[in-house]
């Protein structure tokens, strides 16, 4: 692919890429990045070479999704209203994540560029940016400044619930249906609502694609690690209070401890951290000894974790991990869409047992309940709860043991 990037615009160096523009307006955006070059299906190869992976949590390679959709669409019969659809997922249902909000406020044009790139790559003539009611005006304002070769609209989502951002739920909401997880026998990229091949991609992933379309794969891989090329957004917070979060843009494969320090959050000081919940509230706990691991797949694999949605929720040494795990499990149980039996019954059951454990009271077998929710349900919400709870029971096994005999290692005797 020949880059049509105007030579007068300096290519960004360093790790300020997604958040490089001085302001959210179109003028600042084009001053930093130049206009969006013309792209076609050939950009998919460049995105593949750049190794762009999903930033919404699953980490699925973007190029594979784009290629799958491009294979479906393209015939005259599948144009327009029945052709492929691009949905930019700005719902940010993950409770501990703030990166999508920051990205949409700071660089909405990069996200919109990304949606356009994805549409042009797949033959879609329509793209929708779905986000919360609070952020929709920001995106609409940016959209009003542009003229795009495909039709781009903004969809404000009525609920900010966790499962609203699940891919099938979002696709359903955008198509005018109920925004709850749907049963899927066929992938969205093959056939989504209205029989349209549908791409649901996190807004940060699409913004990454917009950067690749301008500067190319080699530039993307110029920073970051081999497994995590380029940059990514990370949300660092105190696990007890996501509203304290700080969002950083970092090169891929950065060391966890360095990221905590870079956040300058007092509560995230790695010297006083007991553990970190990595990926999201449905992610994996890692102990403080893991803080020298890198935030990429190979770095986190020994701890059974993965970068997920780029969340690093820190548990300070003065906070009881069992109480915290119980609170998160309770919140996740409340976030269930309420459609599937194992989730509706199992998640509150797990939360109840963990709460009893936190109070030093006798409990049922938690692992048994966890095994009853893992892998059962229309979406992967229960799987995330299972992962988070299992990792907690493992990483905090001494705290768990203490609680079972009515003591707490952090707060003394219960």
């Amino acid at each position: 692919m020949t880059l049509t990037h105007p030579p007068t615009i300096p290519v960004p160096t360093g790790t300020r890429r997604l958040l490089a523009a001085a302001g959210p307006g179109l003028v600042d955006h084009e001053r930093t990045h130049g206009p969006l070059p013309a792209v076609g299906p050939a950009v998919i190869d460049e995105i593949a070479r750049a190794g762009v992976e999903g930033r919404g949590g699953a980490g699925f390679p973007l190029a594979r999704k784009l290629a799958a959709i491009a294979r479906q669409g393209g015939t005259a019969r599948t144009r327009g209203r029945s052709g492929p659809l691009v949905v930019a997922n700005g719902a940010e249902g993950e409770p501990a994540s703030r990166k999508d909000a920051v990205l949409l406020r700071r660089s909405p044009h990069l996200v919109l560029d990304g949606a356009v790139v994805a549409a042009l790559a797949t033959g879609a003539t329509e793209a929708v940016v779905a986000t919360s009611a609070g952020l929709a005006p920001v995106v609409r304002q940016a959209l009003a400044e542009r003229r795009d070769p495909v039709r781009v609209t903004v969809r404000a989502l009525p609920h900010a619930g966790f499962t609203a951002g699940e891919a099938s739920a979002l696709a359903s909401a955008v198509a005018g249906g109920p925004g709850v997880p749907q049963d899927r026998v066929v992938r969205l990229s093959e056939r989504g609502p209205g029989r349209r091949p549908t791409l649901v991609s996190n807004v940060e992933t699409l913004a990454q694609a917009a950067l690749v379309a301008r500067y190319g794969a080699e530039w993307t891989r110029g920073v970051g690690s081999a497994a995590a090329p380029g940059t990514r957004l990370v949300t660092v917070s105190d696990v007890r209070d996501p509203d304290t979060a700080v969002v950083l843009e970092t090169a891929g494969g950065a060391v966890l401890g360095d990221l905590l320090v870079a956040s300058r959050l007092d509560r995230a000081d790695p010297r006083r951290a007991q553990a970190v919940l990595v990926g999201g509230w449905g992610g994996t706990w890692v102990p403080a000894t893991a803080l020298d691991a890198t935030l990429d797949a190979p770095g986190l694999a020994p701890w059974g974790a993965s970068p997920g949605a780029g969340v690093l929720a820190v548990l300070g040494a003065d906070t009881c991990p069992v109480v915290t795990t119980a609170r998160i499990a309770t919140a996740l149980a409340g976030a269930s869409a309420g459609r599937c039996g194992p989730c509706v019954n199992g998640l509150p059951g797990i939360a109840e047992q963990l709460t009893a454990l936190a109070g030093g009271r006798p409990t049922r077998d938690v692992e048994h309940l966890v095994s009853l929710v893992d892998g059962r349900g229309a979406c992967h919400h229960p799987d995330g709860v299972a992962r988070m709870v299992r990792s907690a029971m493992h990483v905090f096994r001494e705290d768990v043991l203490a609680h079972r005999s009515g003591r707490c290692l952090v707060g003394g005797v219960r």
Partner: protein
């Protein structure tokens, strides 16, 4: 000949009432997802289906014999259009209505994979209307309708169906206490 048809018509009518009652009972047990002491859950479902089809067969014979019976004065139109008949038009009309509903129930049941579970369930609720209408028809228009033995049979049918409906509306209808799931349209 007419008397034979008349007897056959009455007999199949009474049998149909009993079979429809059993079908409704088994349908309620099916909905609860529970087994019976001598039938597994899937067997309850299959027997419900078989009894319903048998009941439909008896209803069909009941209607055909009465069509052929000249004394019954049943016209073809009376078999589908309710309340258009001459002889006891109201009670006869209830029978026609019950047959119409029964046809809808059977058709949607046989086509349920085509119409999907939501449409199927919506129409199948009509069984709770079809059964009392059929029973009222039997009592009101049947020759034996108000005889003591038939009233006894009808009384038993009403009692068991009322008991089943009461159980159906209680919280214990399903086997396990589970939290209520969201129903999405």
């Amino acid at each position: 000949m007419d008397t034979a048809l008349w007897v056959l018509g009455r007999g199949t009518g009474v049998a149909a009432v009993v079979l429809l009652t059993v079908a409704v009972l088994l349908g309620v047990v099916t909905r609860g997802g529970r087994p019976l002491p001598w039938l597994a859950r899937f067997e309850v479902q299959l027997v419900h289906r078989d009894v319903s089809l048998a009941a439909t067969l008896f209803v069909a014979v009941h209607v055909v014999t009465l069509l052929l019976d000249t004394e019954a004065e049943l016209r073809l139109v009376d078999t589908v259009v309710p309340f258009a008949g001459a002889y006891r038009w109201f009670w006869l009309g209830l029978g026609t209505l019950a047959v119409d509903l029964l046809v809808a129930l059977v058709a949607t049941a046989l086509l349920r994979r085509v119409i999907g579970p939501r449409v199927f369930r919506a129409v199948h609720r009509a069984a709770y209307a079809m059964w009392p209408i059929a029973l009222a028809h039997a009592v009101g228009t049947g020759t034996d309708g108000t005889s003591w033995w038939f009233l006894a049979v009808a009384g038993v049918c009403v009692a068991v169906v009322l008991a089943a409906v009461a159980w159906r509306c209680s919280a214990h209808v399903t086997e396990f206490r589970t939290r209520k799931l969201e129903t999405v349209r």
